[in-house]
């Protein structure tokens, strides 16, 4: 571990791991913005709910006297979490945002903040403020390769995130649903003339974005196994910045932004020998980037959104 290249690679691996989680959450901000030009400030809290749901699902499956294989427990928890967070996201849109769709944007944003507060306080009231320990689904195994240490959990997080991102990218680029999403973000009024229900596509967008945030919650719990009801706020903010840095409304931008922010978070304390400046570095970066590139790294607002 003395070789500086190996050390740098080590940090990079950590940055990719954290960046994957940011990217998964950033995707939801970006998709909703693309389709409704609205920031869903409750999205970070959906991630938090996902982390708790995953914890419960895992505890439940581990507690069954069946001795289920690990892969089954992991996939079962993932499916459970993604399904419920999808339902949560769809309900939030239906109950809180849809009635305000014709209202000024600021009403929807304030409502989103309110929904976020509700989710935090509901979790606080029902589960309590004390941090919860996530059970280890997977026995951690250390590997080493050329002086770089990594674990099976890290690999799992990277691979699962990548699979979800590729699936989503394919959905948006290749399927009719994806075309409808891009069409809505370009000119919503005309879309019904194509036989497409705008409401249905918006619901689907919330379902998918929230499910991916839920998956992010599960993966986060694997890597950083302590949950608290306010965890969605800070991580949500970082993921939101990631979405803006990448170009909000752009799928690949959100992924890129997630990895950039993960890198900033991991490398700033190393380079500045203190983690005090982590958030200020992230926000300063955002400001500087937006001065030079107001649409973010990959944002091309008129040509390709969502």
């Amino acid at each position: 571990m003395s070789c500086p290249v190996a050390i740098a690679l080590q940090y990079l691996l950590n940055a990719l791991q954290l960046g994957s989680v940011y990217a998964l959450i950033a995707l939801g901000y970006s998709m909703v913005y693309g389709i409704l030009t609205m920031i869903n400030f409750a999205h970070g809290d959906i991630f938090m709910v996902g982390a708790y749901l995953a914890m419960w699902a895992t505890l439940f499956l581990l507690g069954l006297p069946l001795n289920l294989p690990i892969i089954f427990i992991f996939l079962g928890s993932l499916l459970f979490t993604m399904t419920l967070t999808a339902a949560l996201g769809v309900s939030i849109e239906r109950l809180a945002y849809r009635p305000l769709r014709q209202a000024p944007k600021v009403s929807a944003v304030i409502t989103a903040l309110g929904v976020g507060l509700f989710l935090e306080n509901f979790t606080l009231a029902t589960i309590g403020p004390e941090p919860r320990q996530v059970p280890a689904i997977i026995p951690v195994q250390q590997y080493s390769w050329g002086g770089v240490a990594f674990t099976n959990v890290q690999l799992l997080i990277l691979v699962v995130s990548l699979i979800l991102m590729v699936l989503l990218d394919t959905l948006v680029r290749r399927t009719l649903t994806g075309m409808a999403m891009r069409a809505i973000s370009y000119n919503r009024v005309i879309v019904p003339l194509m036989g497409v229900s705008v409401d249905r596509i918006i619901s689907l967008t919330f379902a998918i974005g929230s499910a991916i945030a839920g998956a992010g919650g599960l993966l986060y719990g694997l890597a950083y196994p302590v949950l608290d009801p306010y965890m969605g706020i800070r991580i949500g903010w970082w993921a939101f910045i990631a979405a803006v840095v990448g170009g909000i409304g752009n799928i690949r931008g959100a992924v890129l932004g997630g990895y950039v922010l993960g890198t900033v978070e991991i490398f700033t304390p190393v380079l500045l020998a203190s983690s005090t400046y982590r958030d200020s570095v992230a926000f300063s970066m955002l400001l500087i980037l937006l001065i030079f590139k107001p649409t973010g790294l990959l944002g091309r607002p008129t040509v390709e959104k969502v």
Binding site: M179, A180, A183, Y186, N187, P192, L193, M194, S197, T302
Partner: protein
């Protein structure tokens, strides 16, 4: 009647854009709606496809009252609308614009219809992977018509399809409209180009400040002195 409109009113804030219009289109017809700028032509088409709510009146399509059908259901049940301003999706390629227009279709003719649209508009075929936003105005107009063909509607609502096209393309587009009609699609055509429109239409309506002031067979309207003076320029 495939389309039967009775006492249609469309009101924006305080402007009464359409005032008590009655209009019928029989299956298999081409009917044209002519009138000056602001007469209310586009408002009528938008009311039929559902983009604009009615203030009063009924619209029946194939015998069914449309009041309860949101626009996407009207599109799926056979009303295809090429709106004013074309409404091309710039964030979709030409091919995707066409494919999306066939959304919800369950038959196996989608590929065949794509080929048909590309055969009708070779310029679109050359540009199938190009973003919609990069098309010229005339190409966008072709794409808008192409999308309506992909919907395979029973009723085709065309809002100034010749707008912005070069003269030879105008002739071409009117020929295509006739072709589509012969293959079984009913057409309601709004046009500034009253002369051309009346030449291909079976019947016509003349709209003035939201009211129908004249209706009849195209040949009769073409010969009507008032129409000749106001809309044909001689």
């Amino acid at each position: 009647m495939l389309l039967d409109i009775a006492d249609l009113w469309v009101i924006y804030d305080r402007i009464q854009a359409v005032r008590g219009v009655d209009l019928q289109v029989a299956e298999g017809e081409i009917v044209t709606l002519i009138g000056a700028n602001g007469a209310g032509k586009s408002s009528i088409l938008r009311a039929i496809s559902g983009l604009q709510p009615l203030a009063q009146g009924t619209i029946r399509f194939a015998g069914q009252d449309l009041a309860k059908w949101p626009p996407q259901i009207r599109a799926q049940r056979g009303i295809a609308h090429v709106p004013e301003g074309r409404g091309i999706f710039g964030s979709l390629t030409v091919q995707e614009n066409l494919r999306l227009a066939a959304y919800g279709r369950r038959d196996d003719q989608i590929q065949a219809d794509l080929d048909r649209v590309y055969a009708l508009f070779p310029r679109l075929a050359e540009r199938r992977q190009q973003w919609g936003s990069t098309l010229s105005g005339g190409e966008q107009q072709m794409l808008a018509v192409g999308r309506a063909l992909m919907r395979r509607g029973r009723l085709l609502l065309l809002d100034e399809p010749s707008m912005g096209l070069a003269p030879f393309l105008v002739k071409e587009i009117f020929r295509i409209i006739q072709d589509i009609n012969r293959q079984g699609t009913t057409v309601l055509l709004v046009e500034q180009n009253a002369n051309q429109a009346l030449k291909i239409a079976h019947r016509g309506y003349v709209l003035e400040t939201g009211e129908i002031i004249l209706a009849g067979a195209s040949t009769a309207l073409l010969g009507n002195p008032m129409v000749r003076k106001a809309y044909l320029g001689h």
